[in-house]
Amino acid sequence: MQLGFLPSFPLTFSYALLFGALLVAGMVGGEVARTFRLPRILGYGFVGFLCAPFAQALGLDLLIDEARIFVNLALGLVLFDLGRRFDLQWMKRDWTLAASAAAESLLSFAAVFATLLALQVPMIDAGLAAAIAMTTSPAMLLFTVHETRAEGQVTERAMTIVGMNGLLASIITTMMVASSHLADSTQVEVALLHPIYLFFGSLAVGAAMAWLTRVVARNIEKSKDVHFTLIVGMVVGAVGLATMLKLPVILTLLAFGIFSRNDDRGYELLNVNLAPLGRLLYIVLFVITGASVPVEALASAGVVALLFLAARGLGKLVGILAVAPIGGLRMRQCLGLALAVQPMSALTLLMAHDIGRIFPQFGHSLGDVFIAAVIIMEIAGPLAVQAGLRLAGETVPDDGSMTLPPRTASTRGA
């Protein structure tokens, strides 16, 4: 009897099964972390670390390759969200906000650049690494803000600063592409035109998508459900469009978000909450990030990574402490803000990966440093954000209650 209708052995896991399994496993890891009063993201990353040894057997490495588009989607959503919180009007009214973002970006660039040069890293690699070091993981910040229900000046300013340092870093790295062409001794025209295409192409696609989104929004019902679908569709489309046109996804989506917010004079687009969808994508993203970073990198590059993170962290701290108090922030708020902009994660890996494709020697010399730094930050990042937002007094107390236990039943003193 032929049993050809049965699956053949050994069974191969389908991507859907893997995706579902990672989602549930990540969620469980997050809840375990929660019972220890730790941020859930820590649990997701930890589940990823646990999966890493079996990654190959499970076909996870294939999923990771196949998942690049999915990583882009997740990142696209969060970058768009971040771009929407990037408020140029606010920067105009409070110059210290833009100045503290510029200060923390530039000082972290300078500190990392100097540290890497001191460690004998070639100048161009050190410059690229320093540019990537400017960025903060927007996902870790948004996720932790959502989880702790943080609200206030530090939360709002952290979002804007992270948007700004992401923007600065992607502009600098895009411009540095030119030097790779010069190093390859291709024509000067290409060396000039390529970065211009990348930069203005991203801005143009971002602006066009924002315009199109508003046109559609103007002609449909102004309800949150409808606008949610519109925005998710447009974000996914923008990721696809950027990939198709060989434009940087990061800059395109950031530009899309920024134009959506700052060009919407008619307030046609509702501010919908993308977090529920983002959460699903991010659980899997953090598990995959955890599973895909080889822990061995810690042994080979751990020390350099620690120096790198220390220089970066110090640059951000000094930059914020130098400017934010002028804007009226109290010391606890400034320290909280400096902690909240520390995380590094998938965005960093993605930028390092993209640059490694253009500059292969960069991947060889510093690839492991970034991986080791991301491993450390998978743990330290969420803790830093949580501690920062707590220090600033912006999180909801852990027990969720606002009251003291009743001592008397009297109405006196009310």
């Binding site: 206030g152 509702l270 009251t403 009310a414």
Partner: protein
Amino acid sequence: MGLDFRVSEPLTFGVELELMVLNTRDYDLARGAADLLARLAKADLPGEVKPEITESMIEINSAVNRSYDTLLSQLGAVRDAIVHAADRLNLAIAGGGAHPFHRWTERRIFPTERFLKVSNLYGYLAKQFTVFGQHIHIGVASPDDAVYLTHALAPYIPHFIALSASSPFAQGQDTSFETSRLHAVASFPLAGQMPPVITWHEFSRYFDEMQGYGIVGSMKDFYWDIRPKPEYGTVEIRICDTPLTIELAAQLAAYAQTLAADLLENRRLEPVEPLYRVYGYNRFQACRFGFEAALVDPYGKKHVNLRDDLLATLDRLLGRSVALGTTMPLRALADLAREGRSGAEWLRTEYAATRSMPDVVRHQALLWRGEAAARR
């Protein structure tokens, strides 16, 4: 005896306004009171800015005033200072009696000892008390006058409700009321009205009794619509929604001042009990129907239309308003009543035009700033 009445200059007046602190993304309530207050602490303001029960509220108090003009200019100065400070923090400020779509579960209690005690005692009522009212203080020459005026003002409470009404929406829905704010107040056990005592001596005995039971510690514990305020030597009218503009807030105060002047001079001699038999019904009518309310006149034993009653009262006060300098604001209120231009009507028109609650609140915040674009 726990109550000392500090006599003040008769007919001086002042206002307290509770205001919404909003984010500028979707114009929901935001947690910003502490940062705003810290920023305003250095400013030299004619009056005070204080925290309220949740972190999305601030309260401004004017100084003690003799005239409408100085009150209006004071409120303008304080408003401008707050709006400027809010701009720097990317927050917006608005008037209105209740936020149209905020969720009370997301509110956080402002951590002062008193507010934590209120929250501890009243549970979720404390967060639901994130509503925004205007209080008007009128100075009186003696504690007996305070008791008298508290009763004498009671029949006019529906006027103040209809004129200030600006909370037709709650939890994202049209409540069909002109003001939904007063329901949040009514849940408290010590809400309502002063008992029908006639002299300060009687009132003090009542207060001592309540204090003896442990029900109250101070006058603050009575959440009455009108109450004597012995610390200030005033009668405090607490029924109004915070209007959408400081101009209307000052006009309402001018109405209260002129009315008090009239009531103190032409003393009402009727017994107070019949007043309170119809009080709750009249209050409901005004909250629900605004200027169209059908009020019961317990002395004439008939129904009167609120708008007619209000216009007749304003007309009667015009003579007295000349000396007080309140003619202009009283005329403005009469126009407003005649045309039915309440804050509630403004908000409903905005919603009909935009079909979006965040847009309504955004326009509300522009109107509060006094920006021409949002004015009609």
